[in-house]
């Protein structure tokens, strides 16, 4: 478990013309606690829950939600990691192949209430890929989706069940979960006008 893929650090990220913090660490913690409460509310058998983080950002978030669920409901929820790269619909059009990331599904998904966890939801294509990947691992009872940020621009009929925060963006903006510069914790930044924001 020590080798989760790192989320970007503030220093490594290319800062756009204007980068603003839209969620600080405290706001992220509060959102995840609220989401954990909502998950307990909507799933009457917490023992069936199975959190699946989508790398990279979804993985630390899934672990934090699991920690919240332990405190709220006293359950040890399974946490998995599911890379969606091999299921993307734009792989061969892109030329250079993206690097693969870790997949680690510690137990079967059959008959479990799977909750996919992503950092930033937008077009819905990552969630689509994640659902296809998940189905190859078995037949979950239900599949629900958490996104820390929903930035809109959906291109597929996909609904996010648990949203940390809705953030209106323009198409060219870039929203990213990253490690807080020089310290513990995470933050979500919005970089306006930068290109390449699809999640």
């Amino acid at each position: 478990m020590a080798s989760d893929p790192p989320i970007p650090s503030a220093h490594a990220s290319a800062e756009g013309p204007s980068a603003g913090i839209v969620l600080d660490d405290l706001a992220i913690q509060r959102a995840l606690t609220r989401i954990a409460h909502e998950i307990v509310e909507r799933n009457d058998e917490p023992a069936r829950l199975y959190l699946v983080g989508i790398p990279n950002g979804g993985v630390p978030l899934a672990r934090l939600i699991a920690q919240n669920l332990r405190e709220i409901a006293g359950v040890d929820v399974t946490v998995g990691v599911l890379d969606t790269t091999l299921y993307r619909d734009d792989l061969l059009a892109r030329g250079v192949r993206p690097r693969l990331r870790k997949t680690e599904m510690p137990s079967a998904v059959d008959d479990r209430s799977v909750i996919l966890v992503d950092d930033v939801a937008s077009t819905g294509r990552t969630i689509r890929a994640a659902m296809d990947a998940l189905m190859d691992f078995g037949r979950p009872r239900t599949v629900q989706v958490v996104a820390l940020v929903d930035r809109g621009h959906r291109e597929l009929p996909i609904r996010i069940d648990y949203v940390g925060k809705n953030i209106p963006t323009r198409r060219g903006d870039h929203v990213e979960l990253r490690a807080r510069p020089g310290g513990e914790g995470m933050e979500v930044v919005l970089m306006q006008g930068a290109s390449g924001g699809s999640s």
């Binding site: 890379d83 091999l86 299921y87 030329g95 192949r97 693969l100 990331r101 997949t103 190859d136 691992f137």
Partner: protein, 311 residues
């Protein structure tokens, strides 16, 4: 670097090798799933063009392609018009017109995959050409060593056998030296190329010295059928001098592993007992071969020359 195919380890940078290995380890996880198939290369066509027979490598590439959902077509000379004296290049052009997304080629003559690659728009993967290179074998060997030792850098690797006529040896010499290992070769003088030190390796005629402190002992297949005994007096003598058994393995490090590209001539390069169990990792090499070839196909298939993919 990787855009135009994989013809030789000699052409690769260390970063290319690291990317391929990293990808291969992820592909290995796919092979351990209940559904060992991902839709990545759906609708893509891979042609296995094997002029020289090879069930093992061809099957490995075929499984790799199928696990990525590609359509894999096997094309071998006995079943093709090559027997009707069609030239290799005509065959290549014919195949190209069928618009494959990758072509995997094995040929008994060094350089043929490169020659064909120059005629094709699809990327070519060399599956072994004469005594030149067998890049995917070397990459799967690297992968197996990383799995066993956690690294390549600083290891001592001893390759034993017919170094001069072995494409496996040549690719592995490039691969392991590029990744920072010390490579030694050992064999009868008739099997050591004259200027083998130019490749950055140390040559030994004494097995004992070559094995001293080795982390990896790689025995090559002696091509009994090909040589007819011309390069060494007798199989028995070769086996007594250079065949690896548990007694000779004591010269190497205590935790040394034994590798072999297969198929093993039992009792010649390796004792029967070593061929069967640890510290030999022969079946791990085969297992990793599928994952490694999936990685290569993932990184290359569909990357047509002159397309937008040249990066």
């Amino acid at each position: 670097m990787m855009g135009r195919g994989l013809l030789a380890i000699e052409d690769l940078e260390r970063e290319d090798i690291e990317l391929i290995l990293d990808t291969a380890f992820h592909m290995k996880e796919v092979g351990q799933r209940e559904v060992k198939k991902v839709p990545t290369l759906r609708g893509r066509t891979i042609i296995n063009l094997f002029f020289e027979s090879s069930t093992r490598t061809r099957t490995s590439f075929e499984i790799a392609g199928k696990r990525l959902s590609a359509d894999v077509v096997n094309f071998s000379p006995s079943s093709s018009s090559l027997t009707k004296k069609e030239s290799i290049l005509d065959t290549a052009k014919t195949l190209d017109a069928m618009d494959p997304d990758a072509v995997v080629i094995r040929h008994q003559v060094a350089g043929v995959p490169k020659q064909i690659a120059d005629q094709l728009t699809a990327p070519v993967i060399n599956a072994g050409d004469g005594a030149h290179e067998h890049p995917t074998q070397a990459l799967l060997d690297l992968m197996t060593v990383v799995e066993e030792k956690g690294r390549i850098d600083g290891l001592t690797v001893t390759i034993i056998g017919d170094i001069a006529h072995s494409r496996v040896a040549r690719s592995n010499i490039y691969a392991f030296t590029k990744m920072g290992a010390e490579v030694r070769v050992a064999g009868p003088p008739t099997m050591l190329p004259a200027a083998v030190e130019c490749l950055g390796v140390k040559a030994f005629r004494s097995l004992r010295e070559a094995l001293d402190g080795a982390d990896v002992v790689m025995a090559l297949r002696i091509q009994l059928e090909r040589l007819g005994g011309a390069l060494f007096p007798s199989v028995r003598e070769y086996s007594a001098t250079f065949g690896i058994d548990r007694a000779k393995l004591r010269f190497a490090k205590d935790d040394a592993i034994v590798m072999h590209p297969g198929p093993v001539n039992r009792g010649v390069e390796l004792s029967n007992d070593l061929a069967n169990r640890r510290p030999s990792v022969i079946l791990d090499q085969v297992r990793n071969g599928v994952a490694l070839r999936m990685a290569v196909l993932y990184l290359l298939a569909g990357q047509k020359h002159g397309g937008p993919s040249e990066a």
